[in-house]
């Protein structure tokens, strides 16, 4: 009997306007279809992050919401850093990706301090970067999604990029990098939500989480035909 996989969704209420909650739905379903037990925790302002989490996910919110959680996130900093260092799988999209970096400078010039788990810095730029995006991740293949951000994110020396952009912009106009990775922490600008049409990536994350727990199990193949078709068609859509 496997102990339930613990999925922590950070700020589901504050950081929720771009559909990234779908990432939680996808992880939950892909576990449950395979009979792997799980338990989800919705962790908002003032609530604690369970120290034995297997998955931590977070999404995009409005710039104002980002300022609103800044202080609370710093209260959670030591737990989240410990989890990240120990290889817990984390998927942070857009606003939460920025806050997992060192800092985020808003359009008004205000600097919001981030967790510094990812060695990246973000500065809000002229105009938003909006549109369909396709990128490729080594050993995982193509990832499709949608980006909508004003921040330009620059990778520091210690950061690994998450993906390489095939079409779209990604982190910043200069270069062709998308997102960042540290151990099993993934930061990305890709909505869609990212796991919804990229089942190979979703399963990749699930494998990482199970391996870390020492659970040896080969993931049962699912009928992803509808999902794959949605992935293929998304690649053909205009920017």
């Amino acid at each position: 009997m496997i102990e339930p996989i613990k999925i922590v969704h950070l700020y589901p209420k504050e950081m929720n306007i771009y559909g990234d909650t779908g990432n939680r739905i996808v992880i939950e379903k892909r576990l449950s279809w395979r009979g792997i037990p799980f338990k989800s925790y919705l962790v908002g302002v003032g609530q604690n992050v369970p120290e034995d989490a297997d998955f931590v996910i977070g999404g995009g919110g409005q710039d104002a919401a980002q300022g609103g959680i800044e202080k609370d996130l710093l209260n959670k900093a030591s737990t989240l850093k410990k989890l990240a260092d120990s290889g817990v799988v984390m998927l942070m999209i857009c606003g939460m990706y920025q806050l997992f970096g060192k800092k985020f400078v808003t359009n008004e010039g205000k600097s919001i301090k981030g967790l510094g788990i990812l060695d990246v810095e973000t500065i809000a730029g002229e105009g938003r970067i909006i549109g369909n995006i396709v990128s490729t991740v080594p050993e995982m293949g193509e990832i499709v999604g949608y980006e909508n951000h004003s921040g330009r994110t620059h990778l520091g020396d210690d950061a690994q990029p998450f993906a390489r952009v095939i079409s779209g912009i990604g982190n910043e106009e200069a270069g062709e990098l998308e997102g960042a990775r540290y151990k099993n922490v993934f930061g990305s600008y890709m909505h869609g939500p990212i796991l919804s049409k990229n089942p190979h990536f979703a399963d990749g994350l699930i494998k990482l989480a199970l391996e870390r727990r020492g659970i040896e199990i080969s993931l049962k193949k699912l009928d992803d035909s509808i999902t794959e078709k949605a992935h293929q068609l998304a690649k053909l859509r205009p920017r």
């Binding site: 589901p12 306007i17 771009y18 559909g19 909006i130 949608y146 909508n148 909505h191 869609g192 859509r237």
Partner: protein, 411 residues
């Protein structure tokens, strides 16, 4: 004089276009915009002025209902139809409907403007009255953020001269009245109806937001009637042709506006019908289908309650006018759809919708990106049904269904 010349030139262009077999409204509108952008001012100078309606959801229905009620009251109403809610569309309509002596033969104008245009044009338009329906997540790929959208609505309120009617149960509109000299009147619903109207702030929480007391408050909703507390007077209004709880709220805003602008009026608010695509019924032979426009999570989640057991066809397109981004489908509470007898999906993002349903363990019996094929399949298999669709899908679907309907009649 400038007005007059613009009108003549544009009318000439119209005449020329028609003679050469074209129906473009864009070119005369463009010319009018270049020659005389202030032509739009004529609307506020009509005897009973201009009413502007904006907000994320419900503006087309609200505009249509206000115009219908004013017509019932015997007024000549200038109004724009959805899709032409931008400057050029309005200008071209002004030019087309002006007399050769430049007179615009209407008593009152009712305009639907999207949030950005409402903000941009309101300092010029100076409307007499406005209705702010709500600020919900929609078109984020265009406006970026919801809080920004709320600011756009505030600008319209600030430039309205006599009356601002606003949905105070929307958490982003609670503060509206402060920045305007116009009289402000709120509408909304009583606390125990709040669960029917999801707002973005409590989207992923169990919480139901506490709603403020409003001047016009929806107190009871049934399929055929609404109960309204209008400044504490009870009103019961027939709404049997306006399906969905969202339309009950739209109707409340309309009643608030008309009662405040025309307190002596005894107009009957019953029997009003929705504009096309917003709960409109379309028949093909002896078969009837309801078309329900969907464009954001809150709107879709509420609209799902329309005829909750009938088969449904969901058509999701991703043109600019629909929203290129379809991430929003993941914030729709799709579980309600599992009660339906059958589900089919179509549109450029047919597979995205089917995929969304897959992840809620809801099966789909037909997936086809081709809208025409899908509609033929749906009409063939089901005598009645609801078609949920995005904006461009609605335009295509209406054409296809009208054609099907004509073909049936010929047989």
């Amino acid at each position: 004089m400038r007005h007059l010349i613009t009108i003549w030139v544009c009318k000439l262009v119209y005449w020329f276009l028609r003679r050469t077999g074209r129906h473009g409204a864009a070119l005369p509108g463009l010319i009018a915009e270049k020659m005389d952008p202030k032509l739009i001012n004529r609307l506020q100078k009509l005897p009973e002025g201009l009413i502007v309606i904006t907000g994320t959801n419900g503006k087309t229905t609200t505009t249509h209902l206000v115009a219908e009620v004013l017509k019932k009251m015997g007024k000549r109403v200038f109004t724009n139809h959805s899709g032409s809610n931008m400057t050029r569309g309005i200008l071209s309509s002004i030019v087309r409907n002006s007399k050769l002596n430049g007179r615009l033969p209407y008593d009152v104008a009712v305009l639907e403007l999207d949030e950005a245009y409402a903000a941009k044009l309101s300092p010029i338009l100076k409307p007499k009255a406005s209705i702010l329906t709500n600020v919900l997540r929609d078109q984020l790929d265009r406006f970026g953020e919801i809080d920004y959208t709320a600011k756009l609505l505030m600008r319209l309120a600030a430039n309205t001269t006599d009356l601002v009617v606003y949905n105070a149960c929307d958490p982003r509109l609670v503060y509206t009245p402060k920045n305007t000299k116009a009289k402000t009147i709120s509408y909304g619903y009583v606390q125990n109806l709040a669960k029917n109207f999801p707002v973005d702030d409590n989207w992923h929480s169990e919480k139901v937001t506490a709603v403020p007391q409003t001047d016009y408050s929806l107190a009871a909703i049934s399929a055929s009637k609404i109960g309204l507390l209008a400044k504490n007077n009870k009103m019961v209004v027939d709404r049997s042709k306006l399906p969905g709880v969202h339309n009950a709220l739209n109707l409340s805003g309309v009643i608030a506006l008309i009662n405040e602008l025309y307190p002596e009026s005894k107009v009957d608010f019953g029997n009003l019908k929705p504009p096309y695509g917003r709960g409109e019924e379309i028949t093909v032979g002896d078969r009837t289908y309801i078309l329900q426009l969907v464009k954001n999570p809150a709107g879709f989640s509420v609209a799902m309650g329309v005829e909750p057991n009938l088969p449904a066809l969901i058509i999701i397109n991703d043109s600019i006018a629909d929203s290129r981004d379809v991430s929003w489908l993941w914030d729709v509470d799709v579980e309600q759809l599992s009660k339906r007898h059958a589900l089919e999906t179509s549109g450029t993002r047919a597979y995205d919708m089917a995929n969304r349903l897959r992840y809620s363990d809801i099966g789909v019996s037909n997936i086809d990106v081709d809208i025409k094929n899908s509609i033929q399949h749906f009409v063939k298999h089901y005598e009645r049904g609801v078609i949920f669709l995005t904006y461009t899908a609605m335009l295509q679907t209406r054409k296809i269904m009208q054609k099907l309907s004509r073909e049936r009649r010929r047989k």
